[in-house]
Subunit: 332 residues, 2 copies
DNA sequence: GTGAAAGCGCTAACAT
DNA sequence: ATGTTAGCGCTTTCAC
């Protein structure tokens, strides 16, 4: 069995409160007693029970990071930023997966108040849940949607301008036939990246061709499949001159499919992605893409959570700007 | 304030126990009462408090995955395997970072019993802590060391044979001057990979050259720096013909350094890694490496945890075999 | 079918 | 400086 402060109290012939104070190094307790308690604790292999303390103190000192795909390629730097801030505030951090809907760990931890603050980057978590949970005083920072409600703050990437930059770069190279490889169509990021794409075309007087809306769902595989299909369906004369993918993973899948179809990237078709994941600089041709400061994003989001712990930060919204990173895949 | 069952009980003019039973859909309670309670719960935006339940039930139904580097490139598939098994057992999963020693979330969660089982892949967690924590009935699976103690089970990669395969492949290609790019020298993985390297040389009658032990620490940067230095110090005549890196990240760093030094991989120097991370197939030249079934590893480790939840599995040890994946970087 | 009460392990206000 | 006590929100035994 686990030893509790009760056991220590018994053995030491002290009250539990005294033991508790001693273990928490309270100034009320004499050095002698403290020493005795601490020794006994070590002897009995005592470990405080976090659950009990959390219940009593009505807080967990833990921040939850809720991701759609724990271990996905996007998050590594972001997590570092989050970690930096949580640990410098002497809080704990747990990363939870949100895939699986209402049965996911994300739902459980959010609803059951097993964290004191939440950072959400998981489109699969519904707006309703977030709003409901945040209503119960849970400071929540959402990175993947715009949401105005109590105890919710938005930290967003400037998707529209980012996409605009990507597409404008292509048009500046004289390319006009630019396809859009879409992510999940209902996602916030995708919607805005699509907006930026259309705006860039419009500003150049290029009319948007619904025909060049290619549907994927943010995964590498979806990009690969979508382009494979495209190559089967279209005559080569009817192919776009460039593909702007709503994220890097799809762009990488697309490049793979193009190469397998003996289409040269960027000579025949240029490809531009979004996010600047690690892989982007490693693949050949290296991927032109839109980068955003992930580490900073993580730090900022987490700082906001701690701000929300102190005061109600509802309604705050921060937008992070993006940068075009030109590499080989666009030929420019 | 958060609503509790007490609030519901009051409003419904019922006992808290009745409310609790009703919410847990106990057969004792009349449908009418259940309906009333559930409606009221919804109305008051009631959410059960997980901490309280965990305390009462003396379990969290949560498995902890403790990693040295949350978001590192290695773990993605492993995490999926772990997730698969935890969720099929209707448990939750939290991933915790172990960097930062005794102040890390890993230490806190392990010591405070905030998880019911642990999967550890974090050399920075000390053997002592693991043994101590496991003594308190915490089923623990370690993936990064051999450890025999109560409630601990080992799931290991066959590092020695893996390294042996890698180096043997090089010697079969007629390469004899093979350098070893080492990971953290005190790590279990590194020690055994080094053993396999030496054994493969020995079996071919090639004597081990301490001179070709190059020190890194498993990071891409450490591999890059180590090889940069090597190129500065050695005359080109004195360079090895191949580098066997203790993991892929260092191998990738090494390739980068070699290419910057105008040394052709694999023509001038072959490079082989270990782990078969995602990146390995994307870089150019693609990386020859030793793969192991990460998803399976995650599944297996997690299944072991659940086994340990039922019965004491102490002393069990499983070793996973590896495969050589030949790609471009070794020229074979 | 419902209620009263004990208790999980801890903290903290209030005695002494 | 130490002890007594109440209680965090929940589950569960036992009584009615």
């Amino acid at each position: 069995m686990m030893t509790t402060i009760k056991d220590i109290a018994q053995k030491a012939d002290l009250a539990v409160s005294t033991v508790s104070y001693a273990l928490n190094d309270s100034s009320k307790i004499s050095d002698k007693t403290k020493k005795k308690v601490i020794e006994l604790a070590k002897e009995l292999n005592y470990q405080p029970n976090g659950t009990a303390r959390n219940l009593k103190k009505q807080k967990t000192e833990t921040i939850g990071l809720f991701l759609n795909d724990l271990g996905g390629p996007y998050y590594s730097e972001l997590i570092k930023g989050v970690q930096e801030v949580t640990s410098s505030n002497e809080y704990d951090l747990v990363a939870c997966d949100a895939a699986g809907g209402v049965d996911s760990t994300a739902y459980t931890f959010l609803k059951e108040k097993r964290v004191d603050g939440a950072i959400i980057l998981a489109p699969s978590i519904s707006d309703e849940l977030i709003i409901q949970v945040a209503k119960n005083q849970l400071p929540t920072v959402v990175l993947d949607r715009e949401l105005e409600s109590e105890h919710i703050c938005n930290v967003l990437i400037d998707n529209i301008k980012g996409a605009y930059k990507a597409v404008s770069h292509l048009t500046k190279l004289g390319i006009e036939k630019i396809a859009y490889l879409s992510g999940a169509t209902d996602s916030y990021d995708n919607k805005n990246r699509f907006k930026g794409y259309k705006k860039a075309l419009l500003d150049k007087g290029i009319s948007y061709q619904p025909d060049w809306f290619i549907e994927g769902c943010f995964t590498e595989e979806s990009g690969y499949k979508a382009i494979k299909e495209l190559l089967v369906n279209k005559k080569s004369a009817n192919l776009p001159e460039a593909i702007f993918a709503a994220n890097d993973e799809m762009a990488i899948g697309a490049i793979q499919a193009l190469q397998e179809g003996n289409i040269k990237v960027p000579d025949d078709i240029a490809v531009v992605g979004f996010d600047d994941i690690n892989l982007a600089s490693y693949i050949r041709p290296s991927l032109t893409t839109i980068s955003h400061p992930k580490y900073q994003l993580g730090k900022l989001a987490t700082q906001m959570v701690f701000e929300g712990l102190e005061e109600n930060f509802a309604g705050k919204s921060i937008t992070i700007s993006t940068d075009l990173v030109v590499r080989e895949s666009c030929g420019g």
